[in-house]
């Protein structure tokens, strides 16, 4: 039965009158190329943050690119390309997390829980950037999908308004979450630095 509930409602693609399929295809391809060129590296980082296993990560990245390409057939420019790309990527990745949760029972936590935890992850000495990044990934990968989206968007340098538009979380809540994320990050990396 669990396998039966893995589907999603298919929403109709809207193609304006007078636009031929070949035009749609070329516009779709062009938009995808632009997005992939501009956000390719960010999508790689995003996939890394959602999936630790290298093989599964490669599949997830392909899934994100496929979802992105398909989505551009119905892009209405109601929001910026950046918002669109991040929404598609995060929604596809969140769907991946929900799917994987059925097979890999791993408890995910919220930023709030992480903030109140005494020692959420082992604060080992960060000898270099690689170790610091590993610790950052470990922290991000234990978060629930929505909190993960907020922290990743923050790490990508997006402001609260842009994060609110991508996630649908109210601007006030995003600000609170960012404040907590900063606190958690400072605590984690400060403890790491103390061990050095």
């Amino acid at each position: 039965l669990a396998g039966q509930v893995g589907n999603l409602p298919t929403l109709r693609k809207k193609i304006p009158l007078g636009v031929t399929i070949s035009n749609v295809n070329s516009t779709q391809d062009d938009r995808y190329r632009t997005a992939a060129g501009e956000y390719g590296a960010a999508l790689e980082r995003l996939a890394r943050a959602y999936e630790a296993d290298a093989d599964r990560r490669r599949d997830l990245l392909q899934e994100i690119h496929l979802a992105l390409w398909r989505s551009f057939a119905g892009w209405s420019a109601a929001c910026s390309m950046r918002t669109w790309v991040y929404r598609v990527a995060h929604n596809a990745a969140a769907s991946h997390v929900i799917r994987e949760r059925r097979t890999r029972s791993r408890e995910l936590v919220s930023v709030e829980e992480l903030e109140t935890a005494r020692d959420p992850i082992q604060a080992e000495a960060a000898a270099g950037e690689r170790e610091a990044l590993d610790r950052l990934f470990a922290l991000v990968q234990q978060l629930k999908p929505l909190d993960r989206q907020v922290i990743l968007s923050y790490l990508e340098g997006l402001d609260a308004a842009a994060i609110s538009e991508i996630t649908g979380i109210s601007a006030g809540n995003v600000a609170v979450k960012i404040h907590r994320i900063k606190h958690v990050l400072a605590k984690q990396f400060h403890e790491g630095a103390k061990h050095e």
């Binding site: 893995g6 589907n7 693609k13 496929l66 109601a78």
Partner: protein, 182 residues
């Protein structure tokens, strides 16, 4: 400190994977046909079950036995129809970017919860008339077989309902958490 972490994140070495558009198109077509064939496989398996039951009924002149088989077949057909209508596997929606994360997540959780919440009505109860009549028919010979059947059905139903209630409670908790975010 936080600016440093953002810089560290954005500066991490990344080797962008070259994505071939033709490959994407092929993958998209393959995905659609894969999803379609999975749905077809499930429907065919259900229809085979109905056909098997129909085959065992052919030649039977006992009207009550025929009726119980027909009721079981109708129950199976109803479950199949419901699964086909509400629980079919499909690819991610094409306009994934039109939904923000909270809306997408809520939509997915509500759909899963509603499907699981009604499991007694669409997954279990359609079999009850057929099973009840089968049990009554069995009582004409001995009470042991119908009693064993009834006990098995009760335990199986209880187990399925318990699992689903737990899943519904978890999904409701997630929905309540989500409501606080919006």
């Amino acid at each position: 400190m936080n600016d440093e972490i953002q810089t560290l994140w954005q500066r991490q070495p990344v080797t962008p994977t070259p994505i071939d558009l033709e490959k994407l198109r092929r993958r998209s077509t393959r995905l659609s046909s894969c999803v379609q064939s999975r749905n077809v496989r499930e429907t065919v398996a259900g229809l085979l079950g109905i056909a098997l039951l129909a085959w065992t009924t052919i030649g039977d002149h006992d009207p009550l036995r025929v009726t119980s088989s027909l009721l079981l077949m109708a129950g199976m057909a109803f479950v199949l129809f419901h699964m086909w209508r509400h629980g079919r596997a499909s690819a991610l929606p094409a306009d994934l970017g039109a939904l923000d994360a909270v809306s997408f997540h809520r939509q997915e959780l509500v759909r899963q919860r509603d499907l699981l919440r009604g499991v007694f009505w669409w997954y279990l109860s359609p079999f009850l008339p057929g099973l009840a009549l089968t049990a009554v028919l069995g009582m004409r010979r001995s009470w042991i077989v119908p009693a064993a059947l009834a006990a098995f059905v009760i335990v199986a139903f209880w187990f399925v309902l318990r699992m689903n209630r737990r899943a519904v409670q978890r999904l409701n908790r997630e929905l309540a958490e989500l409501a606080k975010e919006g």
